[in-house]
């Protein structure tokens, strides 16, 4: 069985999420090709169980390397990715 290599990614939070989680950004070590579920699990271990609750809420904007992710179920992370987790907009 092929061993998946470790990758390093950076996760950034914005607005209300940043305040609720009390963190602006974290660096994580994952395995190559990790999906959204794996990312949330890793964040929960690093931050707190509250993370699961906040990240499972309806309506999040996710971007990887400044490109919006339109199909979260197809997310496959690689080394150096910067993932932005944002609440739905409320500007204007």
């Amino acid at each position: 069985m092929e061993k998946r290599e470790n990758i390093n990614v950076r996760v950034r939070f914005y607005a209300e999420l940043k305040d609720l989680l009390k963190v602006k950004a974290v660096n994580l070590e994952l395995t190559s090709g990790s999906d959204w579920g794996s990312l949330v699990e890793a964040l929960s271990k690093r931050l707190s169980n509250d993370v699961m609750h906040h990240l499972r809420r309806k309506g999040l904007l996710i971007a990887v390397n400044n490109i919006l992710v339109r199909e979260l179920n197809k997310l496959e992370l690689k080394d150096g990715d910067v993932i932005d987790i944002m609440p739905l907009p409320s500007g204007g």
Binding site: Y14, E16, L68, R70, P89, S90, G91
Partner: protein
């Protein structure tokens, strides 16, 4: 076309002159100015504080403006949105649409404002005497992505 997300807005009259200069075929200029209201949900508001995604927000705003121009057949668009603290009575956003006729101008303006509020990664926090509270998106929010 011009989009700007910054802690300072340009002068609105200068922006109108700027957009007028984009074509001789402009017959209508429609403008929306968003202003900080001093009350929200029965509470006195002292200020709003806006945060944006520095890379994504301007890019998405530009793409949105291009889409609106094409869709409604208007001539030009300028959008400026303030970030950081904006006090009561101060301007938050200018959305300016130049068109041949008012009909398409009003339609473009309305859609553009709605989609800016629902789609562009900018967030607002109300500052009151009780502290700060992030504002939820508009009810019935359905971003198009």
């Amino acid at each position: 076309m011009k989009v700007k997300i910054s802690d300072k807005l340009d002068n609105i009259l200068d922006l109108v002159q700027e957009i007028k200069g984009s074509s001789d075929n402009i017959g209508a200029i429609t403008i929306f100015m968003g202003v900080v209201r001093g009350e929200s949900g029965g509470e006195k508001v002292k200020a709003l504080n806006f945060e944006s995604h520095q890379e994504l927000a301007p890019k998405m705003l530009k793409d949105l403006c291009e889409e609106i121009v094409k869709k409604h057949g208007v001539i030009d668009v300028i959008v400026e949105h303030r970030v950081n603290e904006v006090k009561v009575g101060e301007d938050i956003i200018y959305v300016i649409v130049a068109s041949r006729h008012r009909r398409e101008g009003f339609k473009a303006l309305t859609e553009l404002i709605d989609r800016i509020k629902n789609e562009i990664p900018i967030w607002k926090k109300e500052i009151t005497d009780k502290g700060g509270k992030w504002v939820s998106p508009d009810k019935g929010h359905r971003p198009r992505y």
